[in-house]
Symmetry: C2
Subunit: 126 residues, 2 copies
């Protein structure tokens, strides 16, 4: 991993619909011991899931964290949900790291992207 | 608005599926003049859209911004997309404020929430 791995130059781009997003929004507790190691491990693990398309993350200091995972289809997301190490991390998260969270799992119907260097590009389905 | 309006104590909760999410991920340019006024105006405007359920926002300093808007149905989202003032703001965003962005519009199939103060609660459809 490069030193810039934590500073994305661009968000994950638009894929051809349909695909899935898992939107995880959370507020953390004061005690974050062990969180960053587990988070790094999860980021590594999810890359091995067939159909994983990418992940975006943002966190307002002292406020909300949002992580969005992109998956090719429902099966791909199910595989990730059932991963034993992932489940253990979720359990620990509820016990220690999260004050509150919401997970929204949704099927993308349309998407488009824009980058300053090139013309807007879009894909639509449905 | 209270002084705490920028510091949510909890993310937007799980609603009964189906509902829609608009996931907007972006990296900003250096020049953000006029952005915060427009952003505040959009936050105010979207609340008038029938079926608007809420909005989550997080921003990593120097990195990615993620805004997630929640809507009861596709019509509600279409009304927001067609709002003239919103369209003008988007156009200005492409011209001035955004280095790159992606918009994913998706239909939520399942969701659940957790808060430390109470037992986990969930809703599922499909």
């Amino acid at each position: 991993m490069s030193d810039h791995s934590k500073l994305p130059v661009a968000p994950v781009g638009a894929h051809e619909p349909p695909y899935y997003v898992a939107v995880f929004t959370s507020v953390r507790t004061q005690d974050q011991s062990g969180y960053s190691e587990t988070d790094a491990r999860m980021e590594e693990l999810v890359k091995d899931v067939p159909g994983f398309l990418g992940m975006d993350h943002a966190r307002t200091p002292g406020g909300l964290s949002i992580t969005v995972g992109y998956f090719r289809d429902a099966d791909s997301l199910t595989e990730w949900r059932r991963n034993a190490e992932h489940r253990a991390a979720q359990k620990r998260g509820r016990a220690e790291w999260y004050e509150s969270y919401t997970l929204h799992v949704a099927k993308v119907e349309r998407s488009h992207g824009f980058t300053r260097e090139q013309a807007p590009q879009g894909t639509t389905a449905g």
